[in-house]
Assembly symmetry: C2
Homo-oligomer: 211 residues x 2
DNA sequence: GTCTATACGCCGATAGAC
DNA sequence: GTCTATCGGCGTATAGAC
């Protein structure tokens, strides 16, 4: 992975000045290095020296040109990923009418991220954000996740999803999805995520679909 | 919670000397304090001073009478919980013949632990053990989990569970269970765990049962 | 054998040279 | 405006007093 994910690379700089572009590029380097290191070792085992080395800077002091504290690096990374996720979900909701189709595409997004940007999935599913960013919203309360709740509620209204608490529906549906992805990230399954997507979708949808 | 869980309290000391009993009691105090603190703040946010205060000792130096390093405290705690879990699963396997009944009781155990010893479930489901105990086996490779795999494989052999990879069956079944419990631990569901057990069991078993 | 006092290293953060 | 050199604090671990 060369960028923080793909269509996921926030890159709408337009016609800014040279210097701003360079500055922004360095910030992306820092965030990318941080993402990799956090996925490998976690927040507390990653020092600013690690980040400086991995991002190709010449001194730790240089980092402070861009982020005032280590926590703020983590927060910037977390929010950048959540923004991308939120945007992708918006896009999926725009392109698909039925909740079932929206969910299928969201699952597809998570599985393809698992193959193409496993570090992002590790950060979302494995790291305990609350331990190092106690001020930030936990994943479940972020805009992105709220949108998923809305989809489930819509599914319940239309009768595609059986009538249970939407939080329980979330736990059942994404429990299957995320636990499977965790197994893949842990190296317990041989093939690429892609190979398990259809089977896992069927099981997850089956768990909440009205029969 | 006064002890590290119940039938879960390892307490087979018998007729040892007074002093050994006292020593062992202090060690239990240390582990209990550690469990609580880790569940609250995680490993890295918990200092030995925290542990000393919470466990009622008068100095951090006293801790070193019992455990040589902070990591070894964590390892002792982790292994104690895994041993209890393993023993409970053995017991469940002994008392139940059919995989479906064994699984139902295991689910019951996890839900009752969630109500009665949420710190233990937090440590098992939320904390990232690998970050602070890189030498220890990850949860999925421990004896306790291997026993659960065996139950799933047996279920596949007897035809109760549909014929899928037993790792996928694990992900689907326990994905639902554990994600629901995580939601409860996060305070996102109003009632006690107990209240969701039957509904969650039905969904989880439905996801892997042969129809 | 129990605690006090302290050593020591690591790391985040900064001040100041160039 | 960029890096070097360093500070200061925290937290683990220990040595030694009692």
């Amino acid at each position: 992975m060369q960028s923080i994910g793909h269509e996921w690379t926030i890159n709408e700089m337009g016609k800014e000045q040279e210097k701003d572009q360079k500055k922004s590029a360095i910030q992306d380097d820092i965030l990318l290095a941080t993402l990799q290191l956090f996925a490998e070792k976690g927040y507390f085992n990653t020092s600013l020296t690690d980040i400086q080395e991995r991002s190709g800077l010449k001194s730790t002091g240089a980092i402070y040109q861009h982020y005032k504290t280590k926590q703020l690096i983590a927060a910037a990374l977390y929010n950048k990923i959540l923004d991308s996720l939120s945007i992708s979900i918006d896009d999926i909701r725009r392109r698909n009418k039925k909740p079932v189709d929206q969910l299928r595409e969201i699952v597809g997004l998570f599985f393809s991220l698992t193959d193409q940007a496993p570090e992002i999935m590790r950060l979302l599913l494995v790291l305990q954000i609350r331990e190092f960013l106690p001020e930030e919203k936990p994943l479940l309360e972020t805009a992105a996740l709220q949108k998923i709740y809305k989809i489930l509620q819509a599914g319940i209204r239309t009768g595609e999803v059986r009538a249970i608490d939407h939080q329980l529906a979330y736990a059942q549906f994404f429990g299957i999805i995320f636990q499977t992805i965790r197994l893949i990230l842990a190296g317990m399954l041989e093939k690429q995520a892609e190979a398990y997507q259809s089977e896992t979708w069927t099981a997850a949808w089956g768990a909440i679909a009205k029969k």
